[in-house]
Structure formats: C-alpha cells, structure tokens
Amino acid sequence: MTLLAMLRLETRRLCVQPLAWVLLALSLAWLGWCFTRLLGEFLAGEIQRAAQADGPGYVDLVAVPLLGQLAQLAFLMVPLLGMSTLAGERRNGTLPLLFAAGVPASRIVLGKYLAMLLWLLLWLLLTLAMPLALAHATAPDWGKLAAATLGIVLMLAALAALTLAASAFTAHPAIAAAVALLLGLALWTVNLGAQMAGIDDGAINWLAMSTHEQNLLRGLVSTTDILWFVLLIAVCLALATRRLAAEKERG
C-alpha cells in the first residue's frame, strides 16, 4: 500500500517536472534525426545487401544502432532525470514527512526507483516506436531486437539505481547528477585503460558495463550479463536504503 502510494506520488512529481518533459522532447528529437539518418543509409545500401545471403538486416543497421544512441544519451539523461529524487527531498525538508508517515526507507527508495523506471521505459518505448513503425515492410530479426531491448532496459535500470544511490548521499541535486554521470562513465570504461595498455584481463572486462551491454546489443543473452546488471541494481538500491535508514537514526 505505501509502496503504491510512494510510486504514485513520485510518478506524479516526475510528470509535472518541466525538466523531465524537456529532456524527453530533446532526446526524442535527436533520436528521430538519428533514425532518419540510419534509415537513409539502410535504404541506400539495400541493392548491395541484396547480393549477400546472410548480410546485416534492418535490425542490425537501424534498430540496434538507434538503441545504441539511446544508450549514449542515457548516461546524461538518467542522472538529470533522477538527481532530485532523494537530494531534492532532503533539500525541501520533506524526507522527514515520509518517515513520519511510517514509510520504511526501503519503500521510499523502491517507490522512487520504480517511478523513474516507468519514465525511462516510456522513453524507450517512444524510441522503439520509430523502427517498429516500419518493421512491417522488412523482415526484422525479432530475437536480436528483443535481446538489444533487454540490454537497454537493464542498462537504464542500472543507471537509474546508480543515480538514486548518488542522490541518497547529498542534498544537492547537481552533485548527485555529476557523481552519477562520472560513476556511469567509469563503469562503462573501466576496462578501456587496461585494454589500451595491452592488458586483456578477464576480471577487469567483467567489471565493465560495456562488456555486458555489447553482448546484449549483439543479440547474445547470457545469465552472466543479466546477473551483472541485477547485482549492480541491488547494490545501488541497498546503499540508498541504508543511507536513508541511517539518516532517520542520525537525524
């Protein structure tokens, strides 16, 4: 009951924030432009590809690259969208109101997280609608598209959890956004330095978000990759919950 109430409150607060709509509109405009560019390139190379029996298709050349663009935008979009979730509550002085309503820290965090996730799923759906609108005219590889979509969902969920955790540790939304952006980028590129130095270590590659995301975008769904995202989400949400519970203890 309190989780639903929290979810409803947070969804409403997101829906009336001009920043959320501005971000959605700007990012969709950019993705729309990317889609027309990708579609143009796809159509231009259609005759050449007709000669190849097993060449890349509509999903490989339009849908997945478009989702790749969305993934790049997500590093900036998710921290900006979620920076105020807990930092803003702290700054407004409304966090004690939630504690006093008997809402446990875990439900505050979960309610805010699910609201953010709903918004991000809307963003993903609107983006996916572009390639799907033309899917009837091609023969899309639905399996590959589903795997790539799963990859993006997991990535958005992980970045949202990371932003929420960053927001739990400060009263300044801008600091929360900066920390979430840096942590997200660091997680993505943690193996880049090692690779540039010629070290191709399995452990450091496993730590990098890019390793797991790229597998899913290629259409490879493995439990290890899903588990990596689930672990990151669980750790971030646990940290945020712990921080809130400690705040109630400490005052």
Partner: protein
C-alpha cells in the same frame, strides 16, 4: 472495595527518552505522558530540544535511549503506527513544490492509507475547513508561508490522528488565522485528539493549552497545568528556567 482510577490511559507516553544531535545532547531523560483530548504546550528557548522531541514523537527521528508508547504499543518497535496515529506539522511546513495543494493532500492521504471516495471526501472537507479551496489548484511552491502552514496543518489532520504534533503552527499566520487555529486545536481536543504544541509565544499556551511543559537544554524543567488567567505566573516560571540556565552556563564559563 478497590478504588477505580478514572483517568484515561495515556495515548502517548515517553519514558527516559534521550537523543544526541549534531554532537551535543539535544534531549535527555525526558518523561511525558499525554491523555486523549489533552493539549500540551511545549515551551523553551531556541535549542531547548523542542523540535527534536516533536520529531521523535512524530516518528521522523529515533531516540538514542528510552521508549515511546502510542496507545500502549511500543512505537520504536512498530514505527508504522505513525501512519494512522500521528499527525505532524513540522516547523516551516515543508512541501513538494511541484505539486498542487489538492495533490498534496491526496498524496498525504494515500501515504496514510486512505483511498477512493473516503480520500476524496476527506480532502474536500480539509480544504474547506482550512479555507484552502481557492488555492486547491495552486502549486505548493507558490504559496506564502502562512498558506503553507495551513496546508501542512490540513495534511496533519487528514487521517484523523490520535496525536497531533504541531511545531510552531502559528508561524506566519495573521491574527485572524491564529484565532482560527486556536479554535481548530480546541475542536480537535474536544473530539479526543491529544495535541502537543511547540511555541515561543507564551500567550499561545495560556490561550489554548491545558498543560505546559518547559524544556531547557534538553531537560524537562516544568510540567504542570495551565490556566487562561495565569499568564503572569507562566511567564515568571518560563524566565526563571531560561535565566537559571543562562546563569549556570555563565558560571560554568
């Protein structure tokens, strides 16, 4: 034949409650009991521990020591009791600035377990009672401090709590609104709600409270009944306690 105690059991009871805040003792060894329908005024100079005490009673802050019982149940063991038993108006009445007044009330109601037609009716009644109807669609972030106080009060009363905790509720209210606030407090008390009211204004206590507790440096120095015609005596007692504390501090320095 055994004598029967007719006094109602306390709805709120604090036993040996203590709390440190920002590295110093904010409240120590506090014992208080509040019966249904009673209005307790909590007085003290700045930093006396009033807001910390009220935050603990409201469930926003956990005591370091001691116990708090609500309707005989251990509040620290069952913090969810706050949802239906406590209504809290914190100092400066914090709001979600992007929500309208009506949305605020609805959100508070849902967090307190209300829903459907009952929630709609209660919200309407509260908007009317606190004269917030003309502001129902206005964003909370655009309200004046006095309007925010009234919104905070409406949110605190929405679920008909057993204990109403008010932290300086008359802040930024005009004289007409203060009179209305006093009437509202008395009305709540008559309906059986226990009210605990923190204020700096002594006349507020004599006007509306049955009992007064005076805190100084986190300790309870006075807890007794108050009469409307007893303003001078209360003022004398308050300054005695406040000055005694200041003298002791000067002596210690």
């Amino acid at each position: 034949m055994t004598a029967v105690n007719s006094a109602p059991p306390p709805v709120l009871q604090l036993d040996h409650v203590a709390r440190r805040r920002a590295g110093r003792v904010a409240v120590q060894d506090l014992n208080l009991a509040l019966a249904p329908g009673q209005v307790l005024g909590l007085l003290g100079v700045n930093g006396a521990g009033k807001s910390t005490t009220l935050s603990m009673i409201a469930g926003a802050l956990r005591p370091d020591q001691g116990t708090i019982h609500l309707n005989g149940e251990d509040f620290l063991e069952r913090p969810e009791l706050a949802r239906r038993l406590i209504g809290w108006l914190p100092e400066r009445a914090p709001v979600w600035p992007e929500l309208s007044v009506a949305e605020h009330l609805a959100a508070h109601g849902r967090l307190r377990g209300l829903g459907g037609a009952a929630l709609r009716e209660t919200c309407e009644a509260m908007l009317a009672r606190l004269e917030l109807q003309p502001l129902a669609r206005r964003l909370a972030g655009m309200l004046s401090q006095g309007q925010r106080q009234r919104l905070g009060l409406a949110c605190a009363l929405l679920h008909r709590p057993a204990v109403l905790v008010l932290d300086e509720p008359a802040n930024a209210l005009d004289p007409v609104q203060i009179t209305a606030l006093r009437a509202l407090i008395r009305e709540q008390a008559a309906a059986g709600t226990a009210v605990i009211l923190s204020t700096h204004v002594l006349v507020e206590v004599t006007a509306v409270c049955d009992r007064v507790a005076i805190l100084h440096e986190g300790r309870l120095h006075h807890d007794g009944p108050v009469r409307a015609d007893d303003h001078a005596a209360l003022e004398r007692r308050f300054f005695e306690i406040a000055m005694h504390g200041a003298t002791a501090a000067a002596r210690a320095a």
